[in-house]
Amino acid sequence: MSKGRELLVGFVIIIAVAVGVGGTLWLKGAHWGRALVPLEILVPNVAELTPGDAVVFRGVRIGRVSSIEVEPDGQAVRVSVNLEKTVKLPEDAGAVLAPESMFGDWQAEIVSRSHYPEYDFYAVPRSASSGGVRVVGGYTLPELTRLTASAEEISTNLENLTNRLEMAFSQKTAQNLSQAIDNIEAISREIRDLVNQESSVARNVTANADTALTQIEEASRVARRSFERVDSVLREAQLDSIVTNVRLATGSIRQVSGVVSGSSEQIQSTLTRADSVFARLDRITAQLESGKGSLGILLSDSTFAVRAEGVLAQLDLLLRDLRENPRRYVRLSIF
């Protein structure tokens, strides 16, 4: 085998190993040659945090979790992380362990405790250190599975509540409820009708009141005018002349009464004459009815009337003939 061939084999192997190892370290974010500062975090539990997960400060990745161990007393978990040396952490630093995304990867975020007073950080003195390594308290946000478990518990409770409600809410209850709703509906309908009715009445009353007010206003206006006139009359002293005129009118009426009294005497004599005339007429009428005298005979005997009718008919014929043949009866002769 030639040297070149051997060299090629060695070259390929070295490249492949370098690619594999270098690529792995690069993808895991290894820091070659850069100084790292260790930091330890004490938390009650670490949830899904694993070695190699990111350590973030103000949103920037500044290190990685190097190891996770349970404390000997079993009261906490010690998370060892390596941070870039150039980063200065706050005095009241704490660590919040939380999911980095919705896809399961976690991270440890270094925060100032004062910014998160609602988080129950693991109690660690501010200046605590372990072997020269600073120790901070941590708080672990509930992981998704815990939230899911809580949601499941809530749903179970809701289911129990629903079952109880279902037991309490029997068919009879439903019927009563339905009846109550019907009653409420009827009452509301009645109230609505009543309101409509009262509204109509109120409208009429309002209209009447409006009319009355108008009339009162008109009356007051008339009264005002009357009062004004009275006032004017009183003011202009016309009342005396009116009284005088009334007195004169009364005197004139008294005179007219005297004249009328005189005339009544004349009327009495006229009536007496009329009575005698009527008595005469009664006697004449009685004679006519008894058929006495010429006029009575004429009225009681129909022969006269028949003859008179015949005469009238002949007279009518004569007039007609005269109208048709005037020369038969009238002759004009000049000479």
């Binding site: 390929v12 492949a16 594999g20 993808l27 895991k28």
Partner: protein
């Protein structure tokens, strides 16, 4: 009538006996190869040549396959994720898929055709031309001379080739995302790093070692089992490729079931 009724039974019996005989010959070869490991003076000088032949010469085809696999993975991932999943998952999918699955399996399948067929044809030809018998006559252990260097070279070089294929596949996906999908390099790397675990690389190496052992062992077995002249060589070559490909896929499932729990 009686003969025709017994024929299926004879066929079943023959198949079982043939399978058992095959397993027995494979076991005999494996035991012989393990014993031959002690004879370093015989296989040692040939190891480097086989590493070059099996590994280095296979790098171009492995890189070619990985290159286009990475491109297609990135494009298909982008096509799948657009509008529903953040695009940085293209990097996640390309990295995970190349390292865990497609890098080792596609390389193994490709090399089963190139390397396994080569070994089966080479040793089969030596078998039918009685060169293997000549080795035995010269007191050379055929296992030490022919099997051990090839199997060792396969076990050593398959991971090398697969690592390069993985890297090229991821790089191809990265470049595709940047220049064809208008993704930033940071976006792709974010997804690539999001779920990356060093164990993924070890998983890939373990699988490729098993594939290398499989391809070379099967090639050697069918080479030694060759009979019937040139036609037998051809059959051995075909069987070697088919069987080694099937075993690769079975091993792929086996490793996924056992190592990715």
């Amino acid at each position: 009538m009686r003969v025709s009724l017994l024929r299926p039974v004879e066929a079943v019996g023959g198949a079982v006996l043939s399978s058992v005989a095959t397993v027995g010959r494979a076991g005999y070869l494996a035991v012989g190869a393990v014993r031959a490991l002690r004879k370093g003076s015989i296989w040692g000088p040939h190891l480097l040549a086989q590493m070059a032949k099996i590994g280095v010469d296979s790098v171009p085809i492995a890189i070619f396959i990985a290159l286009f696999t990475g491109v297609v993975l990135a494009l298909q991932a982008s096509y799948t994720f657009t509008g529903a999943v953040p695009l940085y998952f293209v990097g996640t999918l390309v990295g995970k898929t190349m390292v865990l699955e497609l890098g080792p399996v596609l390389t193994g399948l490709a090399l089963s055709g190139r390397v396994g067929a080569n070994i089966a044809a080479e040793i089969g030809t030596m078998r039918v031309t009685e060169q293997v018998d000549a080795l035995e006559t010269l007191a050379y252990d055929p296992n030490a001379y022919l099997v051990v260097p090839r199997v060792l070279a396969g076990a050593l070089m398959f991971p090398i080739v697969v690592l390069l294929a993985d890297a090229v596949g991821v790089l191809a996906g990265w470049l595709t995302s940047m220049y064809l999908l208008d993704m930033s390099s940071q976006t792709f790397l974010k997804g690539l790093r999001l779920f990356f675990q060093p164990w993924d690389v070890w998983f890939s190496v373990i699988k490729s070692v098993s594939f290398g052992l499989t391809v070379t062992s099967v090639g050697c077995f069918f080479g030694f089992s060759t009979s019937g002249g040139a036609e037998g060589v051809g059959k051995s070559t075909t069987r070697s490729v088919v069987v080694s490909s099937m075993i690769i896929l079975v091993l792929d499932a086996f490793w996924a079931a056992t190592l990715l729990k």
